[in-house]
């Protein structure tokens, strides 16, 4: 499968409803400093189930567009990943934030976080292991983990 398009609703620096994509086999995100490239990566990690401290915010509410200047434009924000599976069908994985709780939907139907996470593992996305995500400035640390940390990484994916 592959990531086809993303739909962002008032997520970080993305105001209103924005559809991003389609993403190809090899897609590069470019733009000047401070334009919102890493925010787009945060959107992808958010929809996969990542915790707020790895999204560079203290609490989920800060993800809403305008929150850093105390003028959030809405009470909720959401990201939808339109994922094309191996059979070529599009599945919609959506995560939204209302106040401080997260809501998860698959193809429009609300599901529990556990079910959502299990579906993610079905398509081989292990958000805890994170061996397919590299945050800005973190690449060198991956080679320098200590032996015990490395074992823990292997345990996550086994």
């Amino acid at each position: 499968g592959m990531l086809h398009t993303l739909e962002l609703d008032n997520f970080k620096s993305y105001k209103g409803h924005q559809v991003i994509g389609p993403f190809y086999q090899f897609t590069a995100i470019i733009g000047p400093n401070g334009s919102g490239k890493s925010n787009l990566m945060d959107a992808i990690c958010f929809v996969l189930g990542e915790r707020s401290n790895n999204l560079r915010v203290r609490k989920l509410m800060d993800l809403i567009h305008g929150a850093p200047i105390n003028k959030p434009v809405a009470t909720k924000c959401s990201v939808t990943m339109n994922y094309r599976d191996d059979k070529g069908e599009i599945r919609k994985y959506c995560r939204a934030v209302h106040g401080s709780t997260s809501e998860f939907r698959i193809d429009g139907k609300v599901v529990t976080p556990q079910v959502y996470n299990a579906e993610m593992e079905e398509i081989k996305i292990f958000i805890k292991a994170k061996n397919f995500l590299v945050y800005q400035g973190q690449i060198e640390q991956i080679a320098m983990k200590n032996p015990k940390e490395r074992t823990a990484l292997f345990e996550e994916i086994s």
């Binding site: 850093p68 080679a143 032996p147």
Partner: protein
Amino acid sequence: RYRRFQECFDPVSQKIDEIYKALSRNQSAQAFLGADNMEEPYLEGIQYNCVAPGKRFRPMDNLSGGEKTVAALALLFAMHARNPSPFFVLDEIDAALDNTNIGKVAQFICDTAKNDVQLIVISLKEEFYNKADALVGIFPEPANCTVSGVVTMDLTKFKIGGGGNDTTLL
């Protein structure tokens, strides 16, 4: 538990050397993974060592910034052999690379993308992103608070006859 761990560890430790050679584009490069405790590997640590082309075996903390980046990418892509996520998202991994290494890493990413893994990279360097199939351009829109505008560009139209170098982008 031992069996599950070995099932994970073996494919990665077999692949890591091949991937490190491909990333360095040099057959003399070497990479190995070794468990401290062979009987019960999950109880202790796993050692990782790389020998950069033209250098000798030395501790990993001796590597320079650029050498560490290449070593980390080799480990990540080797682990992928065992746990094949559908895509990778990499944010400015080319920051510490010199121009030769940018070329090698970009080519490796390009080749990997062709073999059924989707690659999404964030980069500031033209030598890196001009090899992509498509660009997603983010620009700041004039507003009170930072607002990101988005534009997408399909590069495959420009790549007659492979290679990315004849596209003078943006």
